[in-house]
Symmetry: C2
Subunit: 107 residues, 2 copies
């Protein structure tokens, strides 16, 4: 993928998070974590029709994107990163209300 210059740091972070969420298996993991608050890899493997290694990799992607937090208190258990969803929502809000604070539009 070609690098796009001129992206703000927020846009870059948002793109990474969107990409992580843009996979059905990973979105399912996030939904499951939202319901259960906390769970181990094995719980997710039970729910998903995927091999254990694949689920583990998806968790890694989610962790790297800052969407999921792993290894709480040394235990290999996962939960949602609370800031993550908030960041996405705030980003969407900023985009969804374009020009709300744009001087050119009279703010």
């Amino acid at each position: 993928m070609k690098t796009i210059e001129g992206l703000t740091a927020e846009e870059e972070r948002a793109a990474e998070m969107f990409r992580a969420l843009g996979n059905p298996a990973r979105l399912r993991i996030v939904a499951e974590l939202a319901r259960r608050k906390v769970c181990q890899t094995g719980d997710l493997v039970d729910v998903l029709p995927l091999a254990q290694s694949t689920v583990s990799q998806h968790l890694k992607v989610l962790k790297e994107a800052g969407i999921v937090r792993g290894d709480i208190d040394g235990e290999p258990c996962y939960c949602l990163e609370p800031d993550a969803i908030r960041f996405v929502m705030e980003f969407c809000e900023a985009v969804g209300d374009p020009g709300r604070c744009d001087p050119a539009s009279g703010c």
Copy 2:
């Protein structure tokens, strides 16, 4: 990509939109459309370091994901689909407040 059964329709739609937004070039397009409200393909080609055919393809992806609306009044011009961002935000809200109405958590 393996199909994940058991995804709700909303989750499936959200995943498609997230995937579309999870590309720096496309996110840049969305940001640009948010600023300009409306623009033609050529305007976006000028802004992005990509070939015209590539930009056109990205626009197609965004259109298919329901994020962008094209060809207004027969004119080849694009604008954001207003419902799209709202849908993403509502989805995030539902996930981000997990168990807010979960009996187990005392609601």
